[in-house]
């Protein structure tokens, strides 16, 4: 899977890593059981601090998207037992919905857009 880092973006690098891994799992680009690069090699390849990668991996682990092992490194897993979005994700969705409303988008258009985005993520499965 290709990870892209935009150093000019307002989104912190660790968040970019986290977001792209989550998208990758949703798209099927990353499959359960698949190994991610080690913290050292990802940091070295991207030319970023190991702490940044470590923070991203810690976040992914706490959210249940990966598990880490001293010997195996980081391995993708599908979160189990998660039936609903986290409060943080719902808050983000709320902000996006507010922005769409202010921009004049109708409810049906907004739902259609969400559907397209959701299906784009499901295509890989």
């Amino acid at each position: 899977m290709i990870l892209q880092f935009d150093f000019s973006s307002d989104v912190p690098i660790y968040a970019q890593i986290r977001n792209q891994v989550v998208e990758g799992i949703a798209n099927g680009d990353l499959e359960p059981g698949e190994k991610l690069p080690t913290i050292r090699s990802l940091a070295s390849e991207a030319g970023i601090n190991m702490m940044t990668v470590s923070k991203a991996y810690q976040l992914l682990k706490s959210e249940g998207y990966i598990e880490t092992d001293r010997r195996q490194g980081a391995v993708v897993k599908l979160p189990t037992g998660v039936k609903k979005l986290t409060e943080s994700s719902i808050n983000q969705l709320s902000i996006i919905a507010s922005e769409a409303k202010i921009a004049g988008m109708s409810e049906s258009d907004f739902i259609e857009m969400c559907k397209q985005v959701y299906e784009k993520g499901s295509d890989g499965k």
């Binding site: 290709i2 990870l3 892209q4 880092f5 090699s41 390849e45």
Partner: protein
């Protein structure tokens, strides 16, 4: 004359290598032509072809002019003057080729901007292809050439051959370790990611590392054996020159072979790469040749094509390394000036207060009268082979192997006889003076004093 032939051959070789490498950069590899990343679908674009054609023509003109100007190496009778011309020629030749590259790199970049051909300007990582891809060669194999290089080091101390000679073998052993260190850098070399195709990325990474490893190991082995060759040939200048020439030729040939083999394979592999996404790092490469990326923590970076590495000019370590490299090149003509100082400074020979003193730039021999076991005067310098030191037509200075006398410390202008031979317990000296009269005078004084 021998020295000028060596300069000429060296100049022709440098010129040829420079020409071939720069011409090779006109072929697309990993979406890159002349240091500019463009979509692979535009490689045959007529406007791109025009720029490439003009670039190649400029290279050819520069090659011909550089070749013809080699004749200037022979304008003077003095080695140091011709050597200075040679060094200036190298600097100017490199500058000319650099300017050609910059001109056409800028032209192609302008075309790219005009056509809006930009790729993905972010840093791209392939999670399945990382630096952990290795090669089938352990670093411990380098201990073999290192052991070979150590043989003369041990022998020189066992035989008591002197510190200067020992230094040569220590440097050779150090060079083997340098190649070993370069191989160890392989682990830190990043993967070659050009697009979304993982198999292409993996193959490119393996190709780079494979040829880099070959180059390091074979160079280490050749250096080890050459060190042993020096041990056997050190007292035979002619053999040393031939051997040195062969060694240099082999290293260059093999380095060129690995570089162009890698480029050829990179070209084949990446021909159809990047159909959906391709990495565009042009913004981080000044004129397509100098890497400058403040966001990148690394000091070293893979060259864009081939097997080489370069420095990150955004880092202090990279700036220092680059500055030192430029300084070394720009100081080459200064070396010529230093050699002129050697060649044009007369040798001074005197006998004052029971001490025979021979002085020349950076060197002084002081021989006490009480240490002199024998003294003679020669009208002609016997056959002498340089071991360590300077061997120009107008100046021979240093440690030489002299027919009939063995190893001697020499400081003479062989065109200014006679020469005073002084034997002490440990060393034999052969000394000249600014003029024949001066040498004769000193000889007479010493002979009188010895009586």
């Amino acid at each position: 004359m021998t020295a000028m032939m060596i300069f000429t051959i060296t100049a022709v070789l440098i010129l040829l290598i420079q020409f071939i490498v720069m011409r090779s950069n006109a072929k697309p590899r990993k979406n890159i032509i002349l240091g500019v990343t463009i979509p692979y679908t535009e490689f045959e674009n007529p406007e791109v072809s025009v720029i490439i054609k003009e670039y190649k023509r400029a290279l050819s003109v520069c090659f011909i002019i550089s070749l013809l100007t080699i004749a200037t190496f022979f304008i003077s009778d003095y080695f140091s003057v011709n050597a200075t011309i040679f060094f200036v020629w190298i600097v100017l030749m490199l500058l000319a080729y650099t300017l050609i590259w910059v001109k056409y790199n800028k032209k192609l970049k302008e075309l790219k901007v005009k056509k809006n051909w930009g790729g993905v300007k972010k840093t791209i990582i392939d999670t399945k292809v990382t630096m952990e891809i290795g090669v089938n060669l352990s670093v411990w194999w380098f201990l073999l050439p290192f052991a070979i290089a150590l043989i003369p080091v041990v022998l020189v101390f066992v035989n008591g051959r002197g510190a200067m000679e020992a230094l040569i073998y220590i440097i050779m052993s150090g060079t083997v370790l340098l190649f070993m260190g370069m191989f160890a850098l392989l682990k830190r070399q990043r993967a070659e990611i050009v697009g979304s195709n993982t198999s292409v990325n993996a193959l490119l990474t393996k190709v780079r590392k494979k040829y880099f490893a070959y180059m390091c190991f074979v160079s280490a082995v050749m250096t080890g054996f050459f060190s042993v060759f020096i041990w056997f040939s050190i007292e035979n200048s002619f053999l040393g020159i031939i051997g040195g020439g062969i060694f240099a030729a082999l290293i260059i040939i093999f380095a060129m072979y690995t570089e162009f083999k890698a480029r050829s394979e990179q070209r084949k592999i990446s021909e159809k790469s990047g159909a959906e996404i391709y990495a565009d790092e042009d913004d981080n490469w000044i004129f397509g040749m100098f890497y400058h990326n403040p966001q990148d923590n690394h000091i070293m970076k893979n060259e864009r094509v081939g097997t080489g590495m370069t420095v990150n000019l955004a880092k202090p370590g990279g700036k220092i390394a680059a500055a030192l490299s430029v300084l070394l090149i720009m100081l080459l003509p200064l070396m010529g000036v230093l050699i002129m100082q050697q060649e044009f400074t007369p040798i001074s020979l005197s006998f004052e207060g029971d001490v025979l003193v021979s002085t020349h730039v950076g060197e002084e021999y002081r021989i006490k009268l009480e240490d002199i076991e024998d003294i003679e005067i020669l009208d002609k310098l016997p056959m002498a082979s340089r071991i360590v030191g300077t061997g120009m037509e107008n100046l021979q200075k240093g440690l030489f192997s002299v027919e009939g006398y063995g190893r001697c410390e020499i400081c003479v202008n062989s065109k200014n006889p006679p020469f005073v031979v002084v034997k002490t317990e440990g060393t034999t000296y052969i000394l000249g003076a600014q003029s024949g009269d001066e040498a004769q005078l000193v000889y007479n004084k010493v002979t009188e004093a010895v009586k």
